[in-house]
């Protein structure tokens, strides 16, 4: 009876009740990875999940009836909006959890990801759920555990390697550049490296120079690598899932200051495209391209700009490699003015490459030089005021738009 209800629950398309699929994940659902197929449009979980009833009932949980009934009441009483609210790190965890459940070859490696639950709680609870062989605590040895992740990816596993801070992955640069990025090419296509390398980077709150690095500028020229940067709970979960499913090595950049952003995300399963940019605010006067934390500074500046009578189009480029020149190009064709706001250093940053790409492709559509606001070419200082001046602030964005639209 219970298992029938469970099966019905899982096979039903989106109804308010299955939102608790997240909670029900505590039961050891063993979904065969090959069975969860993907629909063309909205992604709905069609799973032949078998509940390992033995395990769950052994824990004395009265599974289905209570959980469904209670949560349904709670969901309907909380508010009438669809979806569920969560913080960005929880969204990342949800994406990771769903992928680990769906595909037994997905495993997580990193420092303190297991028993400790992850230094930013992205992997909290996963070790108890999936065990030590799938959520692996590594010693502090980035070079070798990244290498091991790549080696296991060569055989077909799908590891998610976490750098506790992106800056630490500099120690693994050789592995990421030479092995991760190049093995598919140098082996003539024999080996795929479906690895995900993720971690928080960016300038935080007075973390000091070495813990405030932006590695996207260092990794961007590695051929064979894909880079994405998440900025909201919605795209964090979607990009995490897409990155894990991708056959290519993907570096997922998170930001230390964005982990506690709250947003309501859909209950249905969804996977975002790794190479698509996100239209945050359509407009007519100027295209502002940004990613990660700077998106929020841009949106803050946008409020001021709207009051002043400007109509900026804000695009979160999300995909740092390759650039979504389709979306960006369409925007430039409309507005003819571009402002890039990024957190990378001025020299050799993502903005520099983006500027080149836009000039190469859309020169004829530009009415003004491309402005690029980046962080200063200095190690990030500790003092709070100095740190603020290192990164781009909303006032500078407003001034730049005013200059562009003169």
């Amino acid at each position: 009876m219970a298992s029938l209800q469970m099966a019905a629950l899982l096979s039903a398309p989106s109804t308010p009740v299955p939102s608790d699929r997240v909670r029900l994940g505590a039961l050891r659902l063993s979904a065969s990875s090959s069975s969860a197929a993907r629909n063309g449009g909205a992604l709905v979980v069609r799973s032949e999940a078998k509940v390992s009833g033995g395990g769950a009932s052994a824990r004395g949980l009265s599974l289905i009836t209570h959980a469904v009934a209670e949560k349904a009441a709670a969901a309907s009483s909380a508010d009438s909006k669809p979806g569920h609210e969560l913080l960005l790190f929880e969204a990342l965890r949800e994406g990771l959890d769903e992928e680990m459940e769906r595909d037994p070859t997905v495993c997580v490696m990193g420092e303190d990801v297991g028993h400790y639950g992850g230094s930013y709680k992205v992997t909290k609870g996963l070790a108890t759920k999936y065990g030590d062989l799938r959520v692996l605590d590594t010693p502090i040895a980035e070079n070798s555990f990244t290498g091991m992740g790549i080696g296991s990816a060569m055989t077909g596993l799908r590891p998610v390697v976490e750098g506790m801070n992106m800056g630490f992955l500099l120690l693994a640069y050789n592995q990421i550049s030479n092995n991760c990025g190049m093995l598919h090419y140098t082996s003539g296509g024999q080996f795929k490296i479906p690895i995900v390398i993720r971690g928080p980077g960016g300038v935080g709150r007075q973390l000091g120079a070495e813990h405030s690095q932006r590695l996207e500028s260092y990794f961007q020229s590695i051929p064979g690598l894909q880079m994405v940067a998440c900025s909201t709970p919605y795209n964090a979960k979607g990009l995490m899932k897409a990155a894990i499913r991708s056959e290519n090595p993907v570096v997922l950049f998170e930001h230390v200051l964005l982990y506690n952003l709250k947003e309501r995300i859909p209950d249905e399963e969804y996977v975002l495209s790794l190479e698509e940019a996100e239209m945050v605010r359509p407009g007519e006067h100027v295209t502002i391209l940004t990613y990660s934390r700077m998106r929020y500074h841009v949106m803050q500046a946008a409020k001021t700009l709207v009051n002043k009578g400007y109509d900026p189009e804000v695009i979160d480029i999300r995909s740092l490699k390759p650039f979504d020149l389709y979306t960006i190009g369409n925007s430039i064709k409309k507005t003819h003015r571009v402002l890039i706001v990024e957190e990378c250093m001025r020299t050799g940053g993502i903005g520099a490459s983006l500027r080149s790409a836009i000039i190469d492709n859309f020169w004829d559509y530009l009415d003004a030089p491309i402005l690029c606001l980046s962080s200063q070419d200095v190690p990030t200082p500790y003092a709070g005021t100095l740190e603020n001046w290192t990164v781009v602030q909303p006032e500078q964005i407003v001034a730049a738009v005013e200059q562009l639209c003169k």
Binding site: I150, T155, L157, Q190, E275
Partner: protein, 395 residues
């Protein structure tokens, strides 16, 4: 010989390496009678009881050792000539002198076990079942190469035989190898991975990092140090405070093996595989020697004398692996000397034919520049990473 031919035919589909020879007087090809032969030197163990010096082998196996090593030796010498003729460019690291490691290891394991090595990989590739045409084509950068001509000497791979390459950066392959071992444990395959590195790479930090993790997680990883006593131009005693590489694992047991004795290598690898499946990582140090310099741009005589090379090979130490097996074959009346000579002639012809065939293979197409950078057609509702790649027209 027929059985050996069959075995070879199943691993290298295109090249028939040896045609059957006739007029046999001695027992050989299908002879599976067990011979017990003592290794040249006993094994030395570190925190482990070394295996016995008596190795079981068969005449068939000894003959296959001979012909495999002769093939490898001939291939490397031919590569030397091709390099000097400027058909092979860039880096070319030759393995002659060290063939016993590749051949002995293959005799102890299956294709389900993984091997990963550094840039001195031509013979390991052959041992894993790669064929000569693929090897020479890759060296010359042709389409028929095992990596379609895009890898080169240092990037030979054979996925279906669990050969993970072929790596240019010293030491970086060891964490990769431990990762492969991790995957084998994760998938409960009951197989092991041999991660080979040299005495130069033995001083890399990432080795110890990977060893620590492998020992913590009980991974079936076997780290094999092919100690040819020179890290490029630097002798081992000038680079390593402790050149006892088999002891460097500290808490991980180690075994020192005469790497120029194919039977000793076979015994050690068999022993190591059993150990690793049960207990976790183990280090093997193969005491071997390379006759060529580090690579083709290194004459190999500025940091060592020619007397040393010929001494190791034949004069004083008489450690050449092929000669050793030849003596065994002759001593045990497995085949007459003339047959062995015939094998060598045959091998020479095979190599010459393969080179001719490889020379006919064309250079890769210009469009190949952009293929296999990303895996296309992956992921959910996405466009593929190459959607907006900029295609340049090549002159």
């Amino acid at each position: 010989m027929a059985a050996a031919l069959l075995r070879r035919a199943s691993t290298s589909p295109s090249a028939s390496l040896l045609r059957p020879l006739s007029g046999r007087l001695f027992s050989s090809s299908s002879d599976e009678s067990v011979l017990s032969i003592e290794t040249s030197v006993p094994f030395t163990g570190h925190k482990i009881e070394p295996p016995s010096r008596m190795v079981d082998t068969t005449p068939k196996e000894l003959l296959s050792f001979f012909s495999d090593m002769a093939l490898m030796r001939r291939m490397e010498i031919a590569a030397d000539s091709l390099y000097k003729a400027k058909l092979i460019r860039g880096f070319c690291h030759l393995y002659d002198g060290q063939e016993a490691v590749a051949v002995g290891m293959e005799a102890a394991i299956t294709k389900a076990d993984g091997i990963i090595t550094a840039y001195r990989d031509h013979c390991t590739f052959l041992g894993r079942g790669g064929n000569l045409v693929q090897a020479f084509s890759e060296l010359m950068g042709r389409q028929a190469g095992c990596s379609n001509g895009k890898g080169g000497s240092m990037h030979f791979y054979k996925k279906d035989a669990s050969f993970y390459g072929g790596h240019g950066i010293v030491g970086a392959q060891v964490p990769l190898g431990c990762g492969v071992a991790f995957a084998q444990k994760y998938n409960k395959e009951g197989a092991v991975t041999f991660a080979l590195y040299g005495d130069g790479a033995a001083n890399q930090g990432q080795l110890f990092e990977a060893l620590n993790i492998s020992a913590l997680w009980d991974l079936p990883a076997i780290l094999v140090c092919e100690n040819n006593h020179y890290g490029m131009g630097t002798a081992e005693w000038r680079a390593a405070k402790s050149p006892a590489y088999y002891k460097r694992g500290d808490y991980v047991p180690g075994l020192k093996v005469d790497g120029m004795d194919a039977l000793a290598v076979k015994q050690a690898c068999k022993f190591a595989k059993e150990y690793a499946l049960a207990n976790g990582p183990i280090i093997l140090e193969m005491d071997t020697y390379r006759y060529h310099g580090h690579s083709m741009s290194d004459p190999g005589s500025t940091y060592r004398t020619r007397d040393e090379i010929s001494g190791v090979r034949q004069v004083s130490q008489e450690r050449d692996p092929i000669e050793r097996v030849r003596k065994l074959i002759l001593a045990h009346d497995i085949a007459p000397a003339s047959e062995l000579k015939d094998i060598e002639k045959e091998v020479r012809k095979q190599v010459d034919d393969a080179i001719a065939q490889a020379k006919e293979s064309p250079m890769p197409d210009a469009s190949e520049l952009f293929t296999n950078v990303y895996v296309k057609g992956y992921g959910a509702e996405s466009f593929g990473a190459d959607r907006k790649e900029i295609r340049a027209t090549l002159p």
